[in-house]
Symmetry: C2
Subunit: 200 residues, 2 copies
């Protein structure tokens, strides 16, 4: 898109006006329910990117990692070491490793109790529930109970929920839903292994 200086100025002026109009209309402030779903990469990763922003503003962050509890993750090392962050990991690894539905349900319940405490306290400006969608898909927790707590959250608390297969009712309740769609993936196509710093 190469243009002469005059039409470039006209185009950027139009964009600026459109942007300013949208900004002027956007006056509501509230804690958002944010859902990152889809089968592509970047769902948890984008949540941890928001964690960076929250901590950069010296706001308080809570994280409950469902599912990935048994895995050592560098996000836990890094974010958990920050003063303004409480980082809890739950779960005995991916569900295909435990093969025990009752144990998974008990672990999900423990994680949810922590999540609920964080949300209801109103002390955390953002609570990230990593892989909660997966927990809901397997019906390890009742969706109704989760929705009730999330919908009744204190006004300025952002809740971020990640994982494939977000339930329809959660998508409906959310303020911001992004689907991460896989275009190309080195694992599958090139037999590249999971890389330190990229995927864990």
């Amino acid at each position: 898109m190469k243009t002469d200086p005059e039409s470039h100025a006209r185009m950027t002026q139009r964009r600026r006006e459109g942007h300013e109009k949208k900004q002027a209309q956007a006056t509501v402030e509230k804690g958002l329910l944010i859902v990152n779903t889809g089968t592509g990469k970047g769902k948890s990763t984008a949540a941890f990117g928001m964690a960076v922003r929250v901590l950069g503003h010296r706001m308080k962050l809570g994280v409950v990692q469902f599912i990935k509890g048994a895995l050592h993750t560098s996000e836990r090392d890094f974010l958990g070491a920050q003063g303004n962050c409480e980082f809890i990991t739950m779960g005995d690894g991916y569900t295909w490793n435990t093969q025990d539905r009752e144990a998974d349900i008990a672990t999900a319940r423990k994680g949810w109790n922590e999540a609920r405490r964080m949300i209801e306290s109103g002390e955390y400006q953002m609570v990230i529930l990593d892989e909660l969608n997966t927990v809901l898909k397997y019906e390890y927790l009742p969706l109704d109970e989760v929705l009730k707590v999330v919908n009744a959250r204190p006004e300025m608390v952002h809740v971020v929920i990640t994982g494939r297969h977000a339930p329809d009712a959660l998508v409906e309740a959310a303020d911001l839903v992004t689907e991460m769609r896989l275009v190309k993936h080195p694992y599958r196509e090139q037999h590249v292994k999971a890389q330190r710093g990229v995927e864990f």
Copy 2:
């Protein structure tokens, strides 16, 4: 998806085998070219989530933020304050604010010189080029030049490029491409303003 214990165990066993088979085939290690594109949210955010992982592993991170230079961002406050991170911001805000194509080109060139230095040095295990796709779309930098440097990067350097409208040739060269697709957005639909900790 509620199942009896036996079929649950069979299903999780199958998943485990599938996962282990994929892992066994994945033996290649290399620096990846990662592109986050699409019109949805989470492109830069997911890049900053990878930044958390890189810093959690005590690897060295370089960031060049194109376009957003004049905006104050909390990711810059937070990541830029980490010992292992060099964080450079370039640009005088979004292009529709400057309305000066020649100035934008000069700023893009300055940012690219820093990016090129970081990539070619081999000292940074990850280099994030935030909003570079936008710079390429406006042809502020020649795509060929960018591709040449990125494709010739030292073996274990990950390069992450974000922004809408990734050029086809960049998608082709990439190892991992994710399209962030908007499902619901509070700005447009509910007039919610950009929220501290979520979007900046």
